[in-house]
Each structure stands twice: as C-alpha cells, then as structure tokens.
C-alpha cells in the first residue's frame, strides 16, 4: 500500500516536487506572488502582496473575518483573477495554467461541498474521476483514504448521515485523492468540536511530515501555533507581519502575560506599570499585563490579593490581538 505508507510514514509524496528555476536553493519555491492584489470596485480586499512559500512548508494565513485570506487562496487556485501582480504556483503561472496546477494540488474548502447524492466511497470515486485517475489505482487509493479518514464503518453511508467531523475528514481525504504535492486548506477545523479538531490536526501534521506543502487559512490561534512553520498575519487586505509563530511572539509581545480580573481593575490599571509590568491593557473587566520578567508580574499580582491573577507565557493570540485590534468583526 504505497500511498498509505506515504501518508503514514512520512516519505515524500509520489509525484516529484516542481523543479526549481536554475540557481535556486534545494527546497523549491512552491508559491511565488509578486505584487499580488485584488480589488472589487473601490475596495482593495488584498493589498499588493509579495510572498514565497517553499516546498514542505506548512504556511498559515492568519486573520479575522474579512482579512482577505480566502480571496488570497482563491487567487492561488486560479478561481479569482488577480487585479494586479504575478503568481506562480507549482511552477505554473496562475490563473493562465491553473488547470495544470490544480491537477497536482488538493483543496479543502471552507464550506463542505461533498456530493449529497453519493455515499462516502462514491464521493471519493467520483472526485477521483475529475482528475482522470485510472480506475485500478483509484480503487486501492480509495480504501487507503477511507482508512485515513477513519470512516471504514461509514464507507457505504450517504453523506447526510455523517457528523460534522466525519464530513471534514472526508473532505480532507477527498483532497488527497490525486496524491497532491500542495494542499490548500481554508479554515479546516472551523465549527468542529475539540475531539474532531484534534484528530484533524493529527492528520494534517502527518501530511506535513510526508513532505507535502500545506497552505492554511485560520483564525484559530492554537491551530496556527500547532501546525504552521511560518505564517502571515493579515487584516483588511494587508499583511501585518510574517514569520514563525515564535518570531512573531518575540517581535510583538513580551514573553510573559498576567491576566488580572475582578473588582477594582480600573484602579489597578494605574498601579501595574509602577509595580514592574512593562505594558498593561484593559479589555472589559480584565487587565492584561505584559513583562519580560515574570517576577515583576507576580509582584504586581500580589499588590491586590482580591483580584484573580493568571500568569501564562505569551501566545500567538496576544500577537494577533495586538496587530489586529480588539474590535468585533462581523
């Protein structure tokens, strides 16, 4: 079962990665965007974006709703024509040769579009036919994908009987039917319960270690932190920063965070900086204090024993909220 071994054991995927242009480093550039932008009327939904994504990377687009993540992904798939800039994916100019590029990519859309007229197995079979995969290869691969999605007991079940987590797993399995080098995932775990989410994260990590390139949009910080090697934070069509999760945290946030909540937070806001925390920010009835030295924070907490104090290391969520603000996005 070579395909399953590929999925499970972390060998490189069946088809060779795209050939790098001469003089390029060993890991090929899978996506190259130069000045890529999208405008609808007067609204600039993606501001000119320069980006290089390398083979084998799990690359994240992190941003609130309306940040331009999905539009960026659709441009890379050739489903949204860019207003400006050039784009090469897997060595193919997109959108001009998007069809050839998509033959070597897989897509997990934000909204499931599994075929409700078919069973689990038929969904994989019919989707495989869109790639023109020979029947014999397809049939073995389908067995492996059903196992990958942990849907053995549901193989002959209609889609309507699947839970949200099962549908998502099937959608991911369907995106692997052509053994793609590059996987586009648009908010792969949105709306799932924690159990379902963790299983999908495990599967995605497995795919990443098998040498595939993963491109993922999310507004789930934990997901970004667990899965992404590098990510960009986007808001209102603009890239705010790019780096590894660690780099982003180090660049924008002090390493330690203390959250204080309870009565009299307003008064505390004045006292905290003096007590040693470098920076404090109040949101509702919680005071967020950021510091390089955890002892300073602990000292700050001790000044008011009546408030609830939680100390934790800085996370991507702190970066996200600092860069994109705390306003509601609807």
């Amino acid at each position: 079962m070579p395909f399953l071994q590929t999925l499970a054991a972390g060998a490189s995927p069946g088809s060779p990665p795209s050939v790098p242009p001469d003089g390029a480093p060993a890991t090929p550039v899978v996506v190259r965007a130069v000045g890529l932008a999208k405008r609808y009327g007067d609204a600039l939904v993606v501001r000119p974006l320069d980006l290089e994504i390398r083979g084998g990377e799990c690359f994240g687009f992190l941003g609130p709703n309306g940040a331009g993540k999905t539009t960026t992904l659709r441009m890379m798939l050739g489903l949204t024509p860019p207003s400006a800039g050039t784009l090469t994916v897997l060595g193919f100019p997109v959108p001009d040769r998007a069809r050839e590029m998509r033959a070597r990519a897989g897509v997990v859309p934000q909204q499931d579009n599994l075929d409700p007229d078919f069973t689990v197995r038929e969904n994989l079979r019919v989707y495989g036919s869109y790639y023109g995969i020979p029947r014999a290869i397809l049939e073995t691969r389908i067995e492996e994908l059903i196992a990958f999605a942990a849907l053995e007991s549901k193989a002959e079940a209609p889609i309507a009987t699947l839970s949200g987590g099962m549908r998502r797993r099937l959608t991911i399995a369907r995106a692997l039917v052509n053994d793609p080098e590059l996987l586009f995932l648009d908010e792969p775990t949105t709306g799932l319960d924690p159990q379902a989410r963790h299983l999908i994260w495990r599967r995605l990590r497995g795919l990443a270690t098998s040498g595939r390139t993963l491109l993922l949009t999310t507004h789930n910080m934990e997901e970004a932190q667990r899965l992404c090697d590098r990510l960009i934070v986007m808001d209102r069509g603009q890239v705010l920063d790019l780096g590894t999760p660690r780099e982003l945290i180090d660049r924008h946030i002090e390493p330690y965070v203390l959250e204080l909540s309870g009565e009299g937070i307003e008064r505390l806001e004045q006292g905290v900086p003096e007590a040693g925390a470098l920076r404090a920010e109040r949101v509702g009835d919680t005071l967020f204090c950021y510091a390089r030295d955890p002892a300073a924070l602990a000292a700050a907490a001790r000044t008011r024993p009546e408030v609830v104090a939680v100390q934790r290391p800085a996370s991507l969520e702190d970066v996200f909220l600092k860069l994109t603000g705390r306003d509601l996005r609807d």
Binding site: Y40, L77, L79, T80, P81, R99, E100, R102, A103, V107, P109, Q111, N113, L114, D115, P116, D117, F118, E122, V126, Y127, S129, Y130, Y131, G132, A175, N178
Partner: protein, 258 residues
Amino acid sequence: MDFRPPRPSRRSVAVWRRNALVWRKLWVPSLLGNFGDPLLYLLGIGYGLGGFIGQVNGMPYVSFFASGLVCANAMNTATFEALYSAFTRMAMQKTWDGMLAAPLLLDDVVLGEIGWAATKSLLTGSIILAVAAALGAIGGVGMLAVPPLIFLTGLCFGSIALVVTVVSPSYDFFLYYFTLAVTPMFLFCGVFFPLSSLPAGARWVTSALPLTHAVELMRPLLTGSVPEHAFRNVAVLATYAVVFGYLAVVLARRRMIT
C-alpha cells in the same frame, strides 16, 4: 467579463458521468416522472381532443400532435434539467465548486451539464417514441433518424436554460423564463396546430424560435414523409446550441470566477 472562447477538455465527460451516476440511482422514478406528463397530454389532447378534430395536414390529429409532443418533450426535459437540477448543483450543493477545485474549468462543467441535459431528453424521448409508436400514433423508418435529433434539440434547449440558470439569483426567477419563452414555444411553435393558421407577423416570429425547427424536422420523419428544410432546421438548432452554450460559459465565469 471574460469573453475568451471556451477551452473544454475531455474531463467534461466526468461532469456528464457524475450526473449520469446520480440518475442511475433513481432512474425508475425519474423516468416515470418525466414520462407521465407527456403520456397524459398524448391521451387527453391527442386522442381526446383529436377525436373532435379529425385530420390535420392530411394526417390524423393524434399523429400530428404526438410528433409535435416528442419535440416539446425534448425541450421540456432538457430545460428542467438545466434549470432546476443544474441550479441545485451550482448554487445549493456547490457541486460545481468542488469540480472547479479539481483540474476542471467552468468550460468543462458547462459542456458536461448541457450534454447531460441533452442525454436526459434522449432517455425520456426514446420511451415516448416507443409508447407513441406502440399506440400507432407515429411510425415509419424515418423514426430511426429521430433520436439524434432529440439529442440535438436537448443540446439547444439545455444551452438556453443554462444561460438562465447562471444568471438566476434563485429558483423563483425560472418562472419568467417559462412564461416568456417555454410556454409560448410549447403553444405557438406548431406542436398543437399548424403554423399556417397563424397570422403572417406571428409566423415570422415563430420561424425564428428553435422549437419550430425541431417540429419541422421531426414531424415528417415520424409521420412517414421527409422534412423539407432539414439542413436549415439542423443548422438553426445547432446555432442556438453553440451561441447559448458560449453565453452560458461567459456568464457562468462572471458568476463564479470573481
């Protein structure tokens, strides 16, 4: 708008086959449903009303009507498939979105859908031919040439209906198309009565409509004679299919590739 000529590939067959696989699961109720209506028309109008009319154009009214009904049914079947079923796949089930994430272009999807609409015309049309022939309403060797012409008629009306589908915000919109196009063609393109009884102005209008050409082409073949303007009729139907097929691709791009 992207007016570039469509570049469909062999993969459009996969779109056609997907629809055929769904149909195969439900083919008995589907055929009965598609076939019930025309059979009732044939009995009620062809035999019932026909009994009072007697001969039309030198043939029994039931033959006149049954041969026209074969054409109208080809129109209706392809129209329903390319409107309601295609709209469901495009807008509700997002089946088209799934296809577009694979190495398919909208050009393939549109071609596959039109081809499938025509195939459904052919499937139900064949049964109606068989039943009408068994009842003795139609017959003759010319009948053998009719199935491909039903398919062509299905391509023509499938293309037109798909244009309506890709510009429709909802199912409700289809009612305009039925009231303004399908029903007038059903009534005034020679299915129920000969066009010679229309005033000159109306005849001029109906002569531009595709169903008129389908009837002119297939009625003689089903009633033991030879069509007078077969080449012209085929050319008109094919032109409608190509022009509206192209429009469907361009307008589908406007809707989906944004």
